[in-house]
Symmetry: C2
Subunit: 211 residues, 2 copies
């Protein structure tokens, strides 16, 4: 039997009312609007209208607007994880793989600034929105980085610090570059966030590589 990415069986269902999968359609449409015009222009009414559905139909699938945003953010982390893993593997890991991951991360953020902000912008009250799916996908994305760090430690390329701590440090650096780039705070940097990431790859390395 074919299975969806959630692991639940996928069945071609007859369209009830309007959609086979309104939930999916809502997330996609929300992500589209966010990517095209920014979160601040996302209204549930317009989403419903675009999908040919009443403006309250959405509440059958999401508790509120924040929950929809959380689902969009989860989708973002899933994609980010894919991008990071691809960058690492394309270079066959090692230092080149690590550098490529940093660049891929920054690229992801800079190319979809609004999307990235939904993932990290604090629109989702960490306490209130109990979205296990979001935490799960975010953790999985981070795990790609930590696995890379552990692999490099095994190969003697990187300090034998606590890999989780070391990974958090690297994550913070890359995240900071991405955020500053999105905010336009790197306007004096010739090559933008990507150029700063290349510089960071150099300085980060001499910081974390064994002597």
């Amino acid at each position: 039997m074919t299975r969806g990415e959630t692991g639940r069986p996928v069945r071609k269902r007859r369209n009830q009312y309007h959609h086979g999968d309104l939930r999916r359609a809502l997330i996609d449409e929300a992500a589209r609007v966010i990517g095209a015009r920014g979160v601040e222009h996302l209204t549930l009414r317009a989403v419903g209208q675009q999908l040919g559905v009443s403006r309250t139909a959405l509440y059958r699938h999401f508790a509120d607007k924040a929950s929809l945003l959380a689902a969009v953010a989860a989708e973002g982390f899933r994609q980010l994880r894919t991008d990071l893993a691809a960058a690492w593997e394309e270079r066959g890991g090692g230092r080149a793989g690590m550098d490529a991951m940093g660049i891929a991360y920054v690229k992801f953020a800079v190319e979809r600034p609004s999307y990235y902000r939904v993932m990290f912008g604090g629109l989702l009250d960490a306490e209130r929105v109990r979205c296990d799916e979001l935490v799960e996908h975010a953790t999985a994305a981070f795990q790609v980085l930590e696995d890379a760090v552990i692999a490099q430690q095994r190969d003697g390329l990187v300090h034998a610090d606590d890999p989780a701590e070391l990974s958090r440090y690297i994550w913070a650096t890359v995240h900071g570059i991405a955020m500053l780039g999105i905010d336009g705070q790197l306007r004096h940097e010739a090559g933008g966030a990507e150029a700063l990431m290349r510089f960071a790859n150099e300085r980060l390395r001499t910081g974390i590589a064994l002597p």
Copy 2:
């Protein structure tokens, strides 16, 4: 003649209608609400009511809500600059001063998460909100860091890279730690963002210090 921080002459004016300085009062009240309940709870109507003023009085001093937020952000950068300069000078500069600046920065962000987000959260469309005051204060805050880097280069403590580039790299790291901390993404870190900053001070140093 006494002068305000903008360089314009300060004169004790008679209260017109309700306030001697409604603009100042609006910024303070907005900052108070943001600090206490978050930006998402800030409404112009409530601000006016709290100040005993009509809900449209504000438009005499700000073009719109975004402009008010920009003024609040500018105030934040002014305070951040003060905190950073104090940390640097208290330790008499050098490595200890640099470390203290990092900690002070993260503390600033973690203690006023909503405030910090207004400064960096992208609520101010960098293109649309032409707020020279904001850019000015943000630049001044960054300058404190760059001056510290230059001083350390002079003392032979730090790599002779382009100081602006090096400062941006350090800023990104600290900013990333602050942001992840605010977002609750460091929940697995025992001492929170501050602990990660201490770790970063170690690893950052071996990255940027001369051998």
